[in-house]
């Protein structure tokens, strides 16, 4: 290796290090601004809604001096900017305040409700991916055929049917009529005495406890709401898979592969899908993040104690600490998942890897 080449390599490495540092820095700036903006907007919306938060704590019937005392305790008599300042200071030291509805620290509440939502979203996304990708591939390969039309209709129904209705229908058919799945809730009451949650992810907890009866029951409870959420992400994932695949199937390398005499199966699954997988990662990640926000209606129909219900309920009672805490968690999840899909994207795409 000549010296000029070494210099060139070193220079390239330096440039690359700068580029990485710059992108990390710009990323951090974006994250911090996003958070601050998120906090400020949510905070001030929460303060201008015409609902008295004190009412939610002490109720309509409390005497005036109790209301005044609580208002003072909560710092609600201070000017807005001071309240915001105090709040941000708390957040920076890891204190997200106390929920006025549950009187627990907000993070304690979220640690309780978020695993429920996350477990449901994870199982839902697994179902969505497991069925959505093959269906999308099928639709792309048999473009215009009956199979394509069927997948299209499945997707359209998934888009357009209200989840509340579909949830009730699912309960009626699979729970009430056929008895294939368990009913609403996360676990049957008979396990109330034997099952102790550890992580809050019940399926995982059952495995950790080696409690297979509980595992079966938890699975029977989660499968219906998860299938429902899975159906919605399936609808989205299969549509996107189809269009990515169509794009790939028209590329020249596919023609080349066919000319080379590769089997059609190899072409579709080994080459086309592999390339389509790169943008698909983002689609799946976004759909997963969407599910992690918690689906209020699904959680309501299935009596699922998750994040969506928690935030909605808090919002209706002007319980702003809880709403802000929930917003920050969702914001963080979005950022984390974007980051993750970014990393995966770079790993899977040889062009970005080489750069």
């Amino acid at each position: 290796m000549s010296s000029t080449e070494t210099q060139q390599t070193a220079g390239r490495a330096k440039r690359r290090a700068y580029a990485i540092a710059a992108s990390v820095a710009s990323f951090l700036v974006i994250v911090v601004t996003t958070y601050l903006g998120l906090l400020a907007v949510t905070f001030f919306i929460g303060r201008v809604v015409p609902i008295d938060p004190v009412l939610a704590i002490v109720g309509d019937r409390a005497p005036a001096h109790v209301m005044d005392r609580v208002r003072e305790e909560m710092g609600l008599n201070l000017p807005y900017y001071q309240q915001f300042f105090i709040y941000v200071k708390g957040v920076l030291s890891g204190d997200f305040g106390t929920s006025v509805l549950t009187t627990n620290p907000v993070m304690t509440d979220i640690r309780r409700v978020f695993p429920a939502t996350m477990e449901l979203a994870t199982v839902g996304t697994i179902i969505g991916v497991a069925f959505g990708i093959p269906l999308g591939v099928l639709a792309a390969v048999r473009r215009g055929s009956l199979a394509d039309q069927v997948v299209r209709v499945i997707g359209l129904v998934g888009y357009s049917v209200p989840i509340f209705w579909l949830g009730l229908l699912g309960l009626l058919v699979f729970y009430a009529r056929l008895g294939w799945t368990a009913g609403p809730g996360r676990i049957d009451v008979v396990f109330e005495y034997t099952f102790t949650p550890i992580t809050g992810f019940y399926l995982l907890d059952a495995i950790l406890n080696r409690d297979w009866a509980a595992f079966r029951d938890i699975f029977a409870h989660i499968i219906l709401p998860a299938a429902l959420l899975g159906y919605f992400s399936l609808a989205y994932i299969s549509r996107m898979t189809r269009s990515f695949m169509l794009n790939e199937l028209h590329q020249e390398y596919i023609v080349a592969a066919r000319a080379k005499g590769l089997s059609e199966r190899r072409i579709i699954w080994g080459h086309a899908l592999r390339n389509a997988a790169v943008p698909l990662i983002t689609v799946i990640a976004l759909s997963y993040a969407g599910l992690l926000e918690g689906s209020v209606l699904t959680e309501s129909v299935f009596a699922w104690p998750g994040l969506g219900l928690y935030i909605t309920n808090s919002l209706q009672n002007a319980d702003m600490n809880a709403v802000l805490g929930g917003t920050i968690v969702i914001g963080s999840v979005f950022i984390a998942i974007n980051l993750l899909s970014d990393v995966l994207y770079r790993m899977l795409d040889p062009r970005t890897r080489a750069r």
């Binding site: 990323f27 015409p50 609902i51 008295d52 002490v58 109720g59 309509d60 019937r61 409390a62 005497p63 005036a64 001096h65 109790v66 005392r69 003072e72 305790e73 009187t103 509440d109 409700v113 989840i163 509340f164 209705w165 009730l168 229908l169 309960l171 009626l172 058919v173 009430a176 009529r177 368990a182 009913g183 609403p184 049957d188 009451v189 008979v190 109330e192 919605f232 989205y236 549509r239 996107m240 269009s243 990515f244 794009n247 943008p279 990662i281 983002t282 689609v283 976004l286 759909s287 599910l291 926000e293 689906s295 209020v296 129909v301 009596a303 104690p305 219900l309 209706q316 009672n317 974007n338």
Partner: protein
């Protein structure tokens, strides 16, 4: 960093709009009125259903589905909501309890007997001998005194039920004290009607708490101007803890999820028949109905009229109901010059289609009632002189100089049955030329506006704070200071109804020691309100539950802390 990273490469789809669509599905764009419709369509499917697979609940356990998200604490000194009242009513005992066979009277709880001194100031309670808390600690008069002390010193929402008798943080240890192990002496500041004092002591804030047990769990507090004590009287622990002596003990509560009660084997009275009661938090009526039909729950507590009807037609299920101490009303703000005319107030009472509302909108969940006291409470007046009569109303409006009607706004929270009632009233009032503009809003939002007296008309409900006529009389027919900065925000104040005379009469009824005379005074107040008040009383709420056929002796009481579960059995 773009959140739609990589998507720019998508060839033939407008991805951002798809992402939007996708997100919208999860945001719940459906409007509230559309939902029951869909639910109904979904439920129509069940017409096909054969007998569903029966899962069944354990034979020694009663499983109830109920929206229990109003529970924020289990401390009797702080709790003031509906669902915890039921938990505390079953898990704690008070000095005296409401007699459900005659709800104008009380009977002994932990107190065996009581006497009132001739001057009406001193109440002496003798406790039943040999009682024990669930923990095994004996129940003594000292526990009763300390329960009063902590409720008054903590001064949470329900504390006024005790402090209205002149108890303060400084004098409570003197005014509520143990004379000996079995004698508790309670001194009040005025010669109140004994029925009033005893009725108030049935409230959950008067629950007897296990002092020895709670003292093991007190947390230190730095005293401040608002709170002068160095400990929290176990308030933090009691939020989820249990220190009572009722037929059930509370084992576990997870907010918005579940509450578990177990039989208390140390209970002095007849022991609970079932080993445990489990409440599951389920909000949707349709979901509750499905679970009830499938046998996964024994009792469904939030059934709406449609589901209720289906349950009552099912041979395996039954329904049970009881009138509760909550009344619904439309109120007219007297700051509005039109609404403040006596003829208009009266005319509006003729513009409600009581029959139609009673037979459709509140069928099964309420009963038409035109007086403000709940049926069953001492001195409740049974009178319903008003009928829907447009001609009569028009005549009255003409007398008020409003022959051509007028326009007025109406704040209505968007939940049933109030939305339906408001729409019905909008239509019937329109027949007399009154143009009503409904302003829909979230419950807490309309309430905030109402409490600030910024409304014209409002539709609301009022639940009794404690089982005594003073509770409703004090809010409907008393208004000590009608000024905008008045601190006692009774319903009369909220509607700017200035009534010095009625306020005095309400006060006087508190001091009438003859129960029969006292009842008469309350009836007079109700009659006055019926004739002149800006409250158009609509109905009294009925609580209904769907019950599986094998559940016996399940009976709802007149208020939530008397929904007693100890006698319930399963076959």
């Amino acid at each position: 960093m773009s959140t739609r990273l990589g998507i720019d490469q998508v060839p033939d789809n407008n991805t951002s709009s798809h992402t939007g669509e996708f997100r919208d599905m999860f945001m719940g764009k459906m409007n509230a009125r559309f939902r029951p419709l869909l639910a109904g369509a979904a439920l129509a499917m069940i017409a096909y259903a054969g007998s569903p697979a029966l899962a069944g609940t354990p034979a020694d356990t009663l499983v109830q589905a109920w929206a229990i998200d109003d529970t924020i604490t289990l401390d009797p000194a702080e709790s003031f909501e509906l669902s915890p009242a039921e938990f505390l009513g079953n898990a704690y005992d008070m000095l005296v309890r409401l007699d459900i066979d005659d709800t104008t009277k009380v009977k002994g709880g932990v107190a065996e007997s009581w006497t009132v001194s001739d001057d009406g100031l001193t109440y002496t309670f003798k406790l039943k001998p040999g009682l024990k808390f669930a923990s095994g600690n004996p129940i003594t008069a000292e526990d009763v005194a300390w329960s009063f002390e902590r409720a008054v010193k903590l001064d949470k929402s329900p504390a006024f039920i005790l402090t209205q008798f002149g108890l303060t943080k400084d004098n409570v240890t003197e005014k509520a004290k143990a004379a000996d192990e079995n004698t508790f002496v309670f001194t009040v500041d005025k010669s109140y009607a004994p029925s009033f004092v005893l009725n108030c002591l049935t409230a959950t804030v008067g629950a007897v708490v296990d002092k020895k047990l709670v003292l093991e769990h007190v947390a230190p507090v730095t005293p401040s101007d608002d709170y002068k004590f160095d400990n929290d009287f176990g308030n933090a622990w009691m939020k989820t803890g249990y220190a009572g002596s009722g037929p059930f003990k509370i084992r576990d509560w997870r907010a918005n999820e579940v509450l578990v009660m177990e039989r208390n084997d140390n209970y002095y009275g007849e022991k609970a028949a079932l080993a445990r009661v489990i409440y599951r938090h389920v909000k949707e009526s349709a979901t509750q109905r499905l679970m009830l039909e499938a046998g996964d729950i024994d009792i469904a507590r939030n059934l709406e009229p449609g589901d209720l009807e289906a349950v009552s037609k099912n041979a395996d299920l039954a329904t049970t109901s009881a009138p509760k101490g909550t009344v619904y009303y439309i109120s007219l703000n007297q700051k509005n010059p039109n609404l403040s005319k006596p003829e208009v107030r009266e005319a509006f009472k003729y513009l409600v289609d009581y029959d139609a509302i009673g037979s459709t909108l509140i069928k099964g969940v309420g009963e038409i009632r035109q007086t403000y006291q709940a049926k069953g409470v001492l001195g409740a007046l049974e009178a319903s002189p008003y009928k829907f009569d447009v001609a009569k109303a028009k005549e009255l409006l003409e007398k008020a100089g409003l022959k051509d009607g007028f326009s007025v706004t109406f704040d209505v929270r968007n939940s049933q049955p109030v939305t339906g009632i408001a729409e019905s009233f909008q239509q019937t009032a329109g027949e007399a030329g009154v143009k009503i503009e409904i302003i829909p809003g979230d419950g807490k939002q309309t309430l905030t506006k109402y409490r600030a007296r910024n409304h014209d008309m409002y539709i609301g409900q009022w639940g009794m704070d404690y089982w005594d006529p003073n509770s409703n009389a004090e809010t409907f027919t008393s208004n000590p200071n009608n000024a905008d900065d008045g601190t006692v925000k009774t319903l009369a104040w909220r509607n700017a109804w200035d009534i010095p005379q009625l306020t005095e009469q309400t006060k006087a009824a508190l001091l009438e020691r003859d129960s029969a005379k006292r009842a008469e005074m309350y009836q007079k107040l109700q009659q006055e309100a019926l004739d002149n008040s800006p409250f158009v009383m609509l109905f009294q709420q009925t609580e209904v539950a769907g019950v599986r056929g094998n559940v016996k002796n399940y009976k709802l009481g007149p208020n939530f802390d008397s929904n007693f579960l100890a006698p319930v059995t399963k076959e």
